[in-house]
Subunit: 239 residues, 2 copies
DNA sequence: CGTAGGTTTGAGGTTGGTCAACAGGTGTGG
DNA sequence: CCACACCTGTTGACCAACCTCAAACCTACG
């Protein structure tokens, strides 16, 4: 159930067996959330944090005129709302973009971890801080890059993150989101997203059909994206 | 030296005297950084985290074509790189946008805090998580709002954050940044920023001259911005 | 076999970018 | 004291990026 989480954390530092056991004890209560359903509602005050065991989820905000902005994407092994352990109130919603398998950790138990397992607590802190690093990268992409580059960057990032948790097959990965959803990620219109995508296809750097993205030319894609994975902190070192 | 930090944290939860004493012990080594100088360099591996005691600083990235994107602004009482305590390597630089007064905390000491002062450690964790909430709000503003609304939002946010640390005078605050810098925050050109600003002035919601921003009509400004301060977590509750 | 969701394309309008020029203020060297 | 460079803000002209509206097409599904 928590293999993906273990892979995520173990990519950044060594977890000892006792810490893994702690995580197994603290995380439970599996359930499934259907496509399009909220995993966590905006404005709620959850007493637990949710681990995404499988599927893809998004944090999102909707504004007065009805436009929806997606602020983060989550894959297997990500906590979708670990920050709520500190923030208490959700300032955004979390939505299942595919059928999702989830598990939860009680905030009471997480608090106990901070009191008895400082290193494990730091690892959880780390995962919220990596979320922040990803946010900054998205800000950079939105403000400073062309839309083509931004889309390429998103694909590079997802490929890299999915690879960490073993969810890629060769150079392709399952990607069940519609173009409309991706448009809400990039903050552009569906029409323009589609044209940007055609542009990447014309360059023969990616294929995207039947809910699968295949990377045809990684060096070129990464170059279009100016992708550098340092911000994902895939370095195993003491934290 | 750490009054602003205390104000920042105390706005979110009660700090007991011992915790304040701990912070005072851990944070020291004041220095000044001149306008335009780096406080922390991209790619570095700092052994300390820097508290901004006074002034304004920015986290930034510069891309291949030379454009600079600012991903966060910091004011007195903010740690500019507390996340580096967990991330180890800086994936961006931090720059002084005015003459800045800073102080530092050793990562060794912060680690000790996580081992001996779990509540204080959670408060530090909280402050990195609020950074993340601000990032998400910026993503929302960049992707979903008009530039006018985005600029209005930035002003609302800065006013609110400065108010927490006692740096506003009535409805105005000192704001020494040039329009070129603000353009790098919003991810738009200087020319367009200027025209957007004129637009807000024409509406008589703000004044901005001589390095001071004065808010003339807060309700209208907040409405243009769709500003809601929940994401800043200005609620005092147990964390 | 009709309906709904997703993708693709075109036309026309708006937003925002680049280039260029000018004004005001400041600091510096002659 | 003047001449000059430089930084910031402002404005206009023109062009590219991106949006909205609309329609056509495809597939899956009841």
């Amino acid at each position: 159930m928590i293999e993906s989480l273990i892979r995520n954390l173990s990519a950044r530092d060594i977890l000892d067996p006792d810490e893994i056991a702690q995580l197994q004890r603290v995380i439970g209560n599996e359930r499934y959330v259907g496509l399009g359903e909220d995993i966590v509602a905006e404005g709620s005050r959850p007493m637990t944090s949710t681990l995404l065991v499988d599927g893809i989820a998004a944090r999102y905000r909707v504004m007065e005129d009805g436009t929806r902005q997606i602020t983060a994407l989550h894959v297997a092994g990500d906590f979708v709302d670990l920050h709520a352990f500190m923030l208490k109130t959700m300032d955004h919603g979390v939505l299942a973009l595919s059928r999702c398998q989830t598990a939860i950790a009680d905030h009471k138990d997480l608090k106990l971890v901070t009191e008895t397992q400082p290193h494990l607590a730091r690892m959880l802190w780390l995962s919220t801080v990596i979320d922040g690093a990803i946010h900054r990268e998205w800000i950079t992409a939105m403000g400073g890059r062309s839309k083509k580059s931004h889309l390429a960057h998103l694909i590079c990032e997802l490929f890299t993150r999915l690879k960490v948790v073993g969810k890629v097959k060769g150079s392709s990965f399952h990607f069940p989101l519609s173009q409309a959803v991706v448009a809400d990620v990039l903050g552009i219109s569906l029409v323009h997203l589609n044209k940007t995508l055609q542009n990447l296809r014309r360059d023969e750097v990616i294929q995207w059909e039947d809910r699968v993205i295949a990377i045809q030319n990684w060096p070129e894609l990464a170059s279009i994206a100016e992708f550098d994975d340092v911000y994902l902190n895939l370095v195993n070192e003491p934290r």
